[in-house]
């Protein structure tokens, strides 16, 4: 199946208030050895089965760049989960 994952994270220099809030809450769970938490988006995209890997790759880049990530404040990576495992 043609499944692609796009991870979108705030650029490292941009304040991540959510991550900060979670970091601040960890001691309440008894966790005191975490240095930083950053929270971003994970987007799972499923393409039609018929698509070629190249087409999927190209389209995913377009979707990520133009729709999923805001280049002013975010970076993204596109990955095909199957590939890692292979």
């Amino acid at each position: 199946m043609a499944r692609v994952v796009v991870d979108v994270m705030l650029k490292s220099e941009i304040l991540d208030p959510q991550g900060e809030a979670v970091l601040g809450a960890l001691p309440r769970l008894g966790v005191n050895n975490v240095k930083s938490v950053r929270i971003g988006k994970r987007v799972e995209i499923e393409f039609d089965d018929a698509e070629t890997a190249a087409a999927v790759e190209e389209q995913s880049q377009i979707i990520a760049d133009r729709l999923l990530a805001n280049p002013v404040i975010e970076n993204f990576t596109v990955s095909v989960p199957g590939e890692d495992a292979a």
Binding site: L10, K11, E13, L15, P17, N75
Partner: protein, 756 residues
């Protein structure tokens, strides 16, 4: 980076001829020369960064200062004014105990680059100005301008801006009580996001920004300092650092955190109430640079700071980065040494970072050390108060004569009743007049439980004191088209409209804040517009007897050579002794008389009709009569809360037709109208003559209201009756529009265009 790279005062002394990138930082040759004169040497990198920031247009008002002086010169004297221009925000007395502070500020360019965060941090910034005066912020408002509603970029900018304004205000817990939304192609590449905040304080809690008391401690409160918004000084990055520098590390956008801001509000108010701070200043556009130099300059004039104590969010920040950072949600407090522990403890309880970073000194110098080495040693007033002042060239735009004779009164008009009927519907559906609830529903309007009137009322009205019922009303208004035709009259028309909108709630206007959105000050035509607009506001306020208490200037709103319409946005604040007396919007009850106060002339140039139906902008704007506005306000405040008035609504864009459409749509009642004999129906319905209000008078009170009008020389014209059974707009002998058809035209337009 190794310390031997640090550009210290000593290094600057030793290397007088080092070339510095002052031009890239926006400083002119003579400005740089002056800095060298002030210091008697070349500035260090940190000093150069600080001067470039503080002497920028944004911070020094170098192009506008000579004109803004008019406000101080012409302001009427009033005992209400407790703090005025020059403070973070103006403060006016409400009664013997309470005072109110309010201010409007722009965040235009950031909102174009990153609409959500740009607008959000605009709201955050203005809220901190209010806190800095010692006040609890109690409401926000937003005045927005975009390109055409159906332009693809508006689909990007508008939802983001609205989400940002909403997100920040909602999360920080401030009701949004009104604003405006205007579409015009001139704002296509330059959307305007002007945010207002208002706060309330016991009079004795008024705070100053003075760093006074030698030996007092300088405490930085709130968020850590990161690389936000230091793009401007990135030319100062040292060569060694540049190599592992990716584009990431110098973001020009700031991301705000309303949660931290909420904690800042609560913590600062606790500190004020406990008398723990001597002075306080928000960190805004120019970060520590501005806060340190302004507090030092306002106090005894000396301050020493150890910059390495500033808590940082990012690695590899150099002193000038720390000084220039625009990280949000920070305040600077001046605290007596004995109280420092308490201040830190209270901040901890709120989960806020608080750090002592320096102290007030008697040196008369602002000295900043970084790990023991001095990187800044300057007279603080040279940064804060003695920036350059320009008398920019001024020239009347040469197209004004041509524009003035291109009058909208000559445009083809709808002639038959059927055509007029269709025009009412088309206008109601036009972007500037249609229902804005797609936007306002994204804002919390009721948190605090004191909002008596919010959107869609002419002005927002909030209760300040549950026991006495005392409250305030505010309206924000601008009209770029009128200001384009005549900036003096246009600015006064906006002032008159905001004043009238406040009066229509029953409140009495007492003070003004303004946000002046213009093109490039280097363009003499823009400068002419600016000078005329400021003069119009200053003259208008003097005539109305209400002072300008503060405001903001936003220049360079232009794409290439094309400037936006000059757009002064005016905020008027009013006071009402008991909010229960407020006058609502609507049509009262069946049988009530609907009447028009004020005269209608044939004034169509610059009108919404000329624009919406003909894309026409020309001629001269409607006349302003501020004396008339004052009599009208007096009448309304007299009738408010009596049995003589059941509703009122200001007439503005779209004229009488639009006021009736809104009254019907908001009331669930019908309006049964007969246009006065002899009046041209089209003109009567669509002219935008100023100084008019639609009023609804309960049965049996008509004579009393008529005589109250006559006493004040105000024309009142009965138009018809409110009628639940008509349910729609019925213009006798001419046309009928049922509620369903009216609402179909007026509602849902914005959501539909934006794709839902």
């Amino acid at each position: 980076m190794s310390s031997n790279m640090l550009d210290t005062v000593g290094v600057a002394d030793a290397t007088p001829d080092e070339k510095q990138p002052y031009a890239e930082l926006g400083l002119a040759d003579d400005e740089y020369t002056r800095i060298r004169e002030i210091l008697g040497r070349r500035p260090t990198q940190s000093e150069l960064a600080m001067y470039s920031i503080m002497w920028s247009e944004h911070c020094s008002y170098k192009s506008s200062k000579v004109h803004l002086r008019q406000f101080g010169q012409k302001n009427p004297k009033t005992p209400r004014l407790l703090a005025g221009i020059g403070e973070n925000a103006g403060v006016v007395a409400i009664d013997d105990h309470l005072a109110v502070t309010f201010k409007v500020e722009s965040h235009n360019h950031p909102s174009f680059v990153e609409p959500k965060q740009g607008a959000a941090t605009g709201v955050g910034g203005i809220i901190r100005d209010i806190i800095a005066m010692g006040a609890r912020p109690v409401a926000v408002m937003d005045s927005l301008r975009f390109g055409e509603l159906d332009h693809p970029d508006t689909a990007r900018v508008l939802p983001g801006v609205v989400e940002g304004v909403g997100h920040y205000g909602n999360c920080v817990g401030l009701p949004n009580i009104g604003g405006e939304t205007v579409f015009d192609p001139c704002y296509q590449g330059n959307p305007l996001v002007n945010a207002l905040s208002v706060g309330v304080l016991p009079r004795e809690r008024l705070q100053t920004m003075q760093a006074s008391g030698i030996g007092n401690v300088v405490v930085l409160l709130g968020a850590k300092t990161g690389r936000d918004g230091i793009g401007g000084v990135s030319v100062l990055a040292s060569a060694t650092f540049d190599e592992d520098d990716d584009s990431d590390s110098r973001p020009s956008v700031q991301v705000g955190d309303p949660f931290t801001e909420k904690l800042l509000i609560e913590c600062c108010l606790e500190l004020f109430d406990a008398g723990l701070v001597v002075g306080i200043q928000d960190l805004g556009g120019a970060g520590l640079t501005c806060a340190l130099s302004e507090t030092a300059a306002a106090g005894e004039g000396g301050m020493h700071v150890d910059l390495e104590l500033v808590p940082l969010r990012a690695g590899g920040m150099e002193p000038h980065d720390i000084l220039a950072s625009e990280s949000q949600e920070r305040m600077l407090a001046i605290v007596a040494p004995a109280n420092v522990e308490q201040v830190l403890a209270r901040a901890r309880r709120w989960g806020l970072l608080a750090t002592a970073i320096g102290e007030v000194t008697d040196t008369g110098r602002l000295i900043v050390d970084y790990h023991g080495q001095t990187v800044v040693d300057v007279p603080p007033e040279s940064l804060a108060d003695e920036g350059p002042v320009y008398h920019r060239p001024i020239a009347e735009p040469n197209d004004l004569g041509l524009i003035a004779v291109d009058r909208a009164e000559t445009l083809p008009r709808p002639s038959t009743d059927e055509d007029i009927r269709q025009t009412v519907l088309d206008m109601a559906a036009s972007p500037n007049l249609c229902d804005k609830s797609w936007i306002t529903e994204q804002y919390d309007s009721s948190v605090f439980g004191n909002t008596v009137l919010g959107a869609p009322h002419d002005a927002g009205l909030v209760r300040l004191d549950e026991r006495t019922g005392v409250g305030i009303a505010i309206s924000l208004d601008g009209n770029g088209r009128y200001a384009r035709l005549d900036p003096y009259i246009g600015a006064q028309l906006s002032l008159a409209e905001a004043y009238r909108n406040v009066a229509v709630t029953g409140a009495t206007p007492i003070a003004v804040s303004d946000c002046l959105n213009f093109g490039s000050p280097e363009d003499p035509h823009v400068m002419w517009q600016f000078e005329r607009a400021v003069t119009g506001i200053a003259d208008g306020c003097r005539e109305l007897g209400i002072p300008v208490t503060g405001g903001n200037v936003s220049f360079y709103n232009q794409t290439g050579r094309e400037a936006i319409h000059p757009t002064p946005v005016i905020g008027v604040l009013g006071v009402i002794d008991d909010v229960a007396r407020r006058i609502p919007l609507g049509l009262g009850s069946t049988g009530d008389t609907i009447a028009l106060i004020g005269a209608t002339a044939e004034e169509l140039s610059g009108s919404e009709w000329a624009w919406a139906m003909h894309r026409h902008l020309g001629g001269v704007p409607p006349k302003v009569d501020l004396g008339h506005e004052m009599r009208l306000a007096d009448l309304l405040s007299r009738l408010a809360g009596t049995e003589q008035l059941s509703a009122a609504h200001d007439l503005s864009a779209g004229g009488l037709a639009q006021a009736l459409v809104e009254a019907v749509c908001h009331s669930g009642m019908g309006a049964n109208i007969l246009l006065p004999e002899g009046a041209d129906p089209f003109t009567y319905l669509f002219s935008e003559s100023s100084g008019r209000v639609l009023v609804v008078i309960p049965r049996g009170q008509e004579l009393a209201v008529r005589s109250a009008c006559e006493q004040r020389g105000l024309l009142i014209t009965p138009l018809g009756v409110a009628d639940a059974s008509t349910d729609g707009l019925h213009v006798r002998d001419r046309f009928d529009i049922g509620r369903a058809e009216l609402e179909a035209a007026w509602k849902g337009r914005i959501g539909a265009v934006l794709g839902e």
